[in-house]
């Protein structure tokens, strides 16, 4: 039973975490919001002045913004497509009886534990490099012209690298969901004469829907913030060919020292992420009640 006393204690116990997160949430975000209305460049200290909405106007009408927005959507959608479809297929495969399932799981999960800078560098240099990369060696062995992945299709290359990192996550979650599927339900469907395909469509898929949604939402949150993979491989280039929204804000604030413009971009990114977050929170919230 919760008494008045225990409630007070509980409030006391939770307050450090709440206060810290509250500060973390409000202080920097309020500063970003404030900066976004200033003309403020770190190279010209003391010259700050009120700029109204002009930072937003510049940011939102900059052609780079549209490229970055498009690149962000392409990257997120591409990675989601590969990881969700690949994850479902892989999870179905790993759920079958086989020898050495534990070891295969370990092999499949490995990329998730590789730090982003390492996987980006390894893929860029040892696989995608047009001179010394393994793909170039393979192309030459087959008598083909090596393909310069990062120069010719930078965004696709980054999408592939990021998809490699996130495929294990999708697979692992979907496999966990598959394993919680009641085998009696499957048997009943089989006894009623349902073939493997209709068993998949009418029993497995409905069971997986929730997990797929969770995978999509959580990955989207992380994918919107993909940064190291771009910094290390292409620096957003050539031109702005692989610049995402996150990277554009980084360039503006950290490389061009344009605090005001970067802050406006940051607020735009926060708004976009929030749209996704609302859906995710609903999903998780529903689960909490049950």
């Amino acid at each position: 039973m919760a008494t008045q006393h225990s409630r007070t204690v509980a409030r006391l116990m939770i307050s450090p975490a709440v206060i810290l997160l509250l500060l973390w949430m409000i202080v920097p975000l309020a500063m970003t919001l404030y900066f976004s209305f200033l003309r403020y460049n770190l190279l010209m200290p003391g010259m700050e002045e009120w700029a109204g909405f002009s930072n937003y106007r510049y940011f939102l009408t900059d052609p780079a913004f549209f490229t970055a927005l498009r690149n962000t959507l392409v990257l997120v959608a591409g990675v989601l497509l590969i990881t969700v479809i690949g994850g479902i297929l892989l999870a179905l495969l790993l759920d079958q009886p086989m020898w050495g399932q534990g070891i295969v799981r370990i092999l499949v999960i490995a990329p998730f534990f590789v730090m982003p800078t390492v996987s980006a560098l390894v893929w860029t240099n040892m696989f995608m490099n047009p001179v010394n990369g393994l793909f170039a060696h393979a192309a030459k062995a087959l008598g083909l012209q090596p393909y310069d992945f990062l120069a010719q299709s930078p965004l696709l290359s980054i999408t592939l690298i990021v998809a490699w990192q996130w495929l294990p996550f999708a697979t692992l979650i979907l496999l966990t969901a598959l394993q919680s599927l009641d085998s009696e339900q499957m048997e009943a469907a089989a006894m009623d004469g349902a073939g493997p395909l209709s068993r998949f469509i009418y029993v497995t898929m409905p069971h997986l829907t929730r997990s797929v949604t969770v995978v999509i939402l959580i990955q989207t949150i992380f994918l919107l913030s993909v940064f190291a993979e771009i910094l290390v491989t292409t620096n957003g280039g050539p031109g702005t060919a692989s610049t995402t929204l996150t990277y554009l804000v980084y360039v503006q604030s950290m490389l061009q020292f344009d605090v005001g413009g970067g802050a406006a971009g940051g607020i735009v990114a926060v708004i976009l992420a929030n749209i996704v977050a609302i859906f995710l929170m609903r999903m998780i919230g529903k689960n909490l009640q049950a």
Binding site: V108, M115, T176, V249
Partner: protein, 276 residues
């Protein structure tokens, strides 16, 4: 299962699964193998898979030349430090949420989660300025602080889902017997939730070890953990594949090993209990 699995089918599935598993794992394996080659062999065409002169030279060079041990130590301090600090703050919070639920418990949990949804880039500028003005740029203290805040919601959530599974009656019994709140948490709750706390520690050390936004933006040299150190290999001079591989292998090995132990908790932790 009524349906019998034939040996042939099982063999086919095994073959297919092992092949795909091998392909997915291959970049990691290739990095490890390359780290034992000489620079010449690392870029040789056709590449040799196993039959090359194995050498430890790259590991020695990387350790000597680049201050590698220091960056490794930075990674350890930052990831373990931020995780321990986070757990220390989160245990009492998760205790209140799990055992003294009120009308707003759910809202608090959801709100904590929502702080995790804020894209880092939205607060990059102020964080950089705060760090600069407080003299925290390129310090381990600063990074421990930021990573604690970033992972705190996940830590609270994970602990909450583990605490939820412990019957409240046991804690009440301890209270009846006159245990103070401190000893209730320290001697009753913590030992019972130890497996859960351990998984929470494990997963968050992994997340903090691999975090590559704040570490890249807020630490350049002295306090740079391995994520930032490895990034410096992106502008190479001369032959460097073997050395890059050696540095990479050392950076990912500890986490690969920890990670393989935490597969199950990974799902639970990263989906905030939505998939178990």
């Amino acid at each position: 299962m009524a349906r019998k699995t034939t040996t042939a089918r099982k063999a086919t599935v095994t073959m297919l699964a092992w092949t795909i598993g091998f392909i997915i794992f291959f970049p990691v394996l290739w990095t490890i193998l390359t780290s034992f080659k000489t620079e010449g062999e690392a870029i040789a065409a056709p590449p040799s898979f196993l039959f090359f002169d194995w050498t430890m030279e790259n590991y020695l060079t990387v350790n000597e030349r680049s201050d590698y041990p220091r960056h490794f130590w930075n990674s350890v301090v930052i990831s373990v430090g931020s995780t321990l600090l986070g757990v220390l703050i989160a245990i009492p919070a998760a205790w209140s949420l799990a055992f003294v639920p009120g009308r707003r418990t759910k809202d608090v949990l959801m709100w904590m989660l929502s702080t995790k949804m804020m894209p880092a880039v939205g607060v990059l500028v102020p964080m950089y300025l705060i760090f600069r003005d407080a003299g925290l740029l390129d310090t381990k203290t600063g990074l421990v602080g930021v990573l604690t805040l970033i992972n705190l919601p996940i830590i609270v959530w994970m602990l909450y889902t583990y605490f939820k599974e412990i019957p409240a009656e046991i804690l009440e019994a301890a209270r009846m017997d006159g245990a103070s709140l401190r000893s209730e948490i320290l001697y009753v709750l913590t030992p019972m939730a130890l497996p859960g706390i351990a998984s929470t520690l494990l997963l968050n050390i992994i997340l903090a070890w691999n975090e590559a936004f704040w570490t890249l933006n807020l630490a350049a040299a002295k306090a740079a953990p391995l994520t930032a150190f490895i990034a410096s290999y992106s502008s190479p001079e001369g032959l460097f594949y073997a050395k890059l591989s050696a540095a990479s292998t050392m950076a990912i090995a500890p986490i690969l090993i920890l990670g393989w132990f935490s597969q199950k908790q990974l799902v639970r932790g990263l989906t905030f209990g939505a998939v178990k």
